[in-house]
Subunit: 183 residues, 2 copies
């Protein structure tokens, strides 16, 4: 195993937009190799993805327009964390904005990356339980379609054509493992 | 359900680097709302992620420096698809570059997205079986550490500190479901 971390010897922002920053870096590996890398800098606060239990056997999901792929995708409620907002609070806010429920029990289960080779972005997976109706206005351009899915059928979920996001599939199986361990 | 897809009424590239392009779009939803979006354009060919079976109970993994998070991450072999390269061929090339094996049987299982809201990038998950030693030179700045993981312990894999990538976790569970269905 390579124990010695490569050294970042230089870095600068080479392009910038409202949402994205592209950073160029010079990296020297422990074998002496020097390589130029590019990575995306996102929000340092990251985002939350919320798996909310409707009952012990069922989760809530939403169908949302996804501009990157130009179609509707079935996914778990998620969103950006606001400044100084704790992870669990962000999860509870997104739930209220996207599915019209709040949770009495929120548990941060795992922090995931999207593409650690060129993105630092973190998505915090939160399990939401003991729900009650509560609505907050979100910033969605149209109302999301809220739906449910049986936990016993996550294999089928993962193979749906409108379920492609790795975070959705990873979070589903992580949460199911956790719930099975509890039983 | 919203059946009518939003319309992209304008789009332009607003920033560009060696690896990334940032596209700005005007989108009109079926309710009349007009929203400005930004998305990343990556390679249109996408990438492959290869789950290679060492034996019926064990997969190969690699430990690779990940500049986005500035540490080593344990992951499945993966890489970009080259121009005109079929998915299975790209998978077999990456295997030979990263773990020193080729596969006689390659099966494209699922195409995943990273963040469909603002990225179009596709990662094709390929199951590689019936391996034999074969080495190709890759473009890695240092040799990857090759290791193995028991399929029966993917729950523990998903909770490792150096396993954060949603694609790794999603691919592991998808492949295990598939192998269980075969038995």
């Amino acid at each position: 195993m390579t124990d010695k971390l490569p050294r970042i010897t230089a870095s600068k922002i080479i392009a910038k937009s409202r949402l994205f920053q592209i950073e160029q870096m010079e990296i020297t590996f422990s074998n002496g190799n020097e390589v130029e890398y590019e990575r995306l800098k996102g929000s340092s606060r990251g985002g939350v993805l919320v798996v909310a239990l409707k009952d012990p056997h069922t989760v809530y999901m939403v169908r949302e327009y996804s501009a990157g792929v130009e179609r509707y995708e079935l996914m778990f409620p998620k969103g950006r964390i606001e400044t100084n907002e704790p992870v669990e609070e962000a999860a509870n806010r997104e739930l209220q904005e996207e599915i019209g429920f709040a949770a009495r029990k929120l548990t941060h289960i795992k922090s995931m990356t999207l593409a650690p080779g060129y993105m630092g972005h973190l998505t915090h997976v939160v399990l939401a339980e003991d729900l009650y109706p509560a609505q907050l206005d979100g910033d969605e351009p149209e109302p999301l379609q809220v739906t449910t899915w049986p936990i016993a059928e996550f294999e089928q979920l993962a193979m749906q054509n409108d379920v492609t996001e790795a975070r959705t599939i990873a979070a589903a199986f992580i949460i199911r493992s956790l719930l099975e361990q509890r039983d």
